[in-house]
Amino acid sequence: MMSIELADEELAQRAVEGDFNAFEELVRRYSPPLFKFAYSLLDNYDDASDVLQQSLIQLHTALPQRQPAASFKRWAFTIVRNKCLDQLRKRRVPTFNELAHDSGDPELNLVEQVYDPTPLPEELIEQQATQQTLKEAIATLPERYRAVVALRYTSDLSFSEIGQVLAIPEGSAKTYFQRAKTLLRQYLKDRL
């Protein structure tokens, strides 16, 4: 069993040198947050499982080509996020993300416009499940907002690292996070 005190980069280096146990330790260390991140983006257990498996294979395959200076954690979340995007594209279902990006800025207005308030107040009361409502609220977020929220709460990444995972500036990551919270607050305000 690999020593748990070893840093990610040390384990990654050992894995590159052929120590498969080091790679196993990395997988055991990051499988839960990676899977939760994927699940939060895909909202589907099977899809998240597939994405995790594909991501693990790519992690193992591309590990020797990884930039040594790059953080393994950030690199792993980037791979998972890209796999999730591929999975979302396969669904070919218009998402709020696409709709939000088709227009310029006003994600908030789009959410208000596109959102179909099918759940009746009676149903909401019946569910009495705040988490379920929150889950639905998160599902309505644009992908980037959802990714920021998921990364923020499923991993210990800072906004700077979140920005690197999503290939956006740190300031944009913070902005997306605040906008996401605004959208969630608005959604939940109407239903709770």
Partner: protein, 309 residues
Amino acid sequence: MPKPEIDSSSDELDRLLEKWAGQLPEPPVSQVESTLRQLRQTTPPRRSNGWRWLVLGGMAAAIMVIIIGAVVVLTSFNNKSEPQAAVSTNLIPTVTPTPEQPTSAVRPPVVAALPQQIPTATPLATATETAPTSPSPVPTASPTPLIASQNTVSSATVTPVAPINNPTAVPTITSPVDAPNRGIPRKPTEGGVPIEPGTPIKPATPIPAPTATPVSDPSEPRLPSVAITYNGIITAVNANSLTLNNHPDPILFGPNTRVIINGAPSTVGKLVIGHYVSIVALSDNRGQLVAQVITATTKVPPIPKPPSE
């Protein structure tokens, strides 16, 4: 159930989000383990950088060994084929004077090797107490190369040549001078006198160590053939030999020595004092002179020609 105050407090939303993140499902352990197992089985173990360098170094060393081996083989092949080419030319083989001990303290004059001057070869006998009793010229060299190496080192060039592989090359040497010359150095056993302790011994000629077995007697060690070149001006010449200005000892002619004067084929009788000559002599692996070409000119010093020409 109390209704959360989402709109007024961001902390409540954070709490809900943290709770949401905590309730996200865990990854399928069996699937993760299966993936790891497949990766372990299907992926060959990666080599460390040190191992890679070791492998690369080994490959480089192997390539170097192959290259060096190829060069050695080619060089050996060329050296072996060179004497054959030389013998296959029209060069008339001649016989070198009798071989003698390289460590001989007293070097007899070359003319002593001539048949009619056999009695003068007595000093040779006295000088080489350890001269072989058998006709074997094994550890000896022909006197002419010996003289060149001892007295006129600067004017003579000794080029070691690989032994002649063709067994027929050596036996074809049937010069009339051969028989008497063979007998001369064998007489020391009959009346040889030991070398005096104080007698200075001249340095041995740089004859390569015998590594091969002669054709005639497989038990005898063989000497590599040598090609020797003399350059100089004729100071004395007769029907049997000539003397160069930078080479005090006479150089014997063979009965069929090839002579070229001013680019035209000629004979030894046309050689006169004052000719600038370049003599190329090729000895076989037994120390016997097998070819001799004398290129003479009356004006411009000729460029020494290799024995194969």
